[in-house]
Symmetry: C2
Subunit: 255 residues, 2 copies
């Protein structure tokens, strides 16, 4: 039974891509087959997995326009059980190309949820841009679960309201089965009162599950996105790698 | 002679809003009249200046649709010489409302650059969403100068290419006078080799000016966005306040 997760935030730079790459890699490490889908024209998931977005033959844009099938577009990463449908900046053209298509917010759902495309995978995880636009809505319509990284910052915590509003809208109009998997607190520096207070507040207010695992600022997670390697491979004994493995356990336990 | 600056990045969470608020406040501190314009439906600039985006009578959306004039929409902040045209999440509706308008990317330019609207100000600074969409393009078309915060991270540095491409496109098609004011390096942790190497690389490759002032990670700049107060007021003797004053000097010297 494939679990399809859309990782969304609205707010920029809260760790969506970092979460998708490293949660995906941690799940793959357990032997589960994981497909990561880059829905962001920025193509950070793609470069964070070691690919060059400017040097790809087939991308998620081709899947959305029907130029190629998903099966033709899925690429193996350098690590066992971890696969990707990559993106390139040309993804930005898809929205206007599809604007006259009926139900264009269901484009990704139609391409990826038919013909058992996702059946070979235990997990499919979508990375999205920092907005509630075309690509984010497409990912939310294609997924069953929503994972929300929330950074310990005033703007990100305020932004949660709009994330939830968008999820409700998509649930009401496009995807009634969409459920919130949970919030993952990111950039949690437990040494500062600032982070500790925001984390407490988050755990109190949310009628939403907040994962026990938190992601702490660490230069390791800066280095991994530059290196294009998941932290479970780049620094397997690091606290960051341990955190994503713990998150993977929590996700498996609740998905 | 009003200087109009659009702050853009593509990449999320690199410090656009933090830069606009605090550079704006530092310029206002010198006695210059500064207007900050929130072009982001996230409305972080608005809340970062102490306003509640859900409780506003008039916003930049009204200016763009012509429902209100700029003069009616400009609000005083709590600090001398610092003014704002605020945003609310309803800004997200403007794009589809205006999609059939001719030259809809020139909406902001038309509203703000006619009838001497910006004349009372020494500086007008636009904050934009993390994307190259409707609102970012509108701000680039309305401005004369582009300020680009670049975070010390692989994704942000790679993303610079797309920022420059967008600026070139806007210059070619909408706004021939658009010039790049410069890059402001953000989240520069000089204690890590990681940051130092990326900063060196940035200063070498860019045929673009890179400001001498860099912004360093500090809990002060986390607290200020939660508090809704510029750092020059919240922590006037802090290193962060000093950095934005130094940036203001550099900007005045080169704009
Ligand atoms: N815990 C962490 N410690 C240090 N750096 C981190 C951490 N998590 C993420 N980063 C870095 O912070 C930056 C932002 O993270 P990331 O790109 O994953 O966020 P995002 O939400 O996907 O951003 P966007 O909104 O632009 O898509 C990246 O450069 C990443 O390498
Ligand atoms: N130098 C700094 N030290 C610590 N925190 C910072 C610093 N600069 C910005 N921040 C915090 O990091 C977060 C991201 O900054 P900010 O919101 O200004 O970026 P942005 O580019 O405007 O993001 P978005 O792409 O979502 O619009 C905010 O919570 C802000 O308070
Ligand atoms: Mg991302
Ligand atoms: Mg911002």
């Amino acid at each position: 039974m494939t679990v399809c997760i859309a990782c969304v935030s609205g707010k920029g730079g809260v760790g969506k891509t970092t979460t998708v790459i490293n949660l995906g890699a941690a799940l793959a490490e357990t032997g589960r087959r994981v497909l990561l889908v880059d829905c962001d024209p920025q193509s950070n998931l793609t470069s964070g997995l070691g690919f060059n977005p400017y040097d790809l033959e087939r991308t998620v844009a081709d899947v959305m326009t029907g130029k190629h099938t998903p099966a033709e577009t899925v690429a193996e990463t350098a690590w066992a059980n971890l696969f990707v449908i990559p993106a390139s900046p040309d993804l930005v053209a898809v929205e206007s190309e599809m604007s006259t298509t009926l139900d264009h917010e269901l484009t990704l759902r139609r391409s990826l949820r038919q013909d058992g495309v996702t059946a070979p995978y235990d997990f499919v995880i979508y990375d999205t841009p920092p907005s509630f636009g075309f690509h984010t809505v497409n990912a939310l319509a294609a997924a069953d679960q929503v994972l929300i990284p929330v950074q310990m910052s005033g703007f990100a915590i305020r932004g949660l309201k709009e994330v939830l509003r968008t999820v409700h809208l998509v649930r009401a109009r496009l995807n009634p089965d969409l459920a919130i998997l949970g919030i993952i607190p990111t950039f949690v520096n437990l040494r500062t009162k600032f982070s500790r207070q925001l984390l407490e507040g988050l755990c109190e207010l949310a009628s939403i599950r907040v994962f026990n695992t938190v992601i702490t600022p660490t230069v390791k997670l800066q280095e991994t996105s530059l290196a294009g390697v998941p932290v479970t491979e780049y620094a397997p004994t690091s606290k960051a790698a341990a955190a994503f493995r713990a998150l993977a356990d929590e996700v498996v336990g609740s998905a």
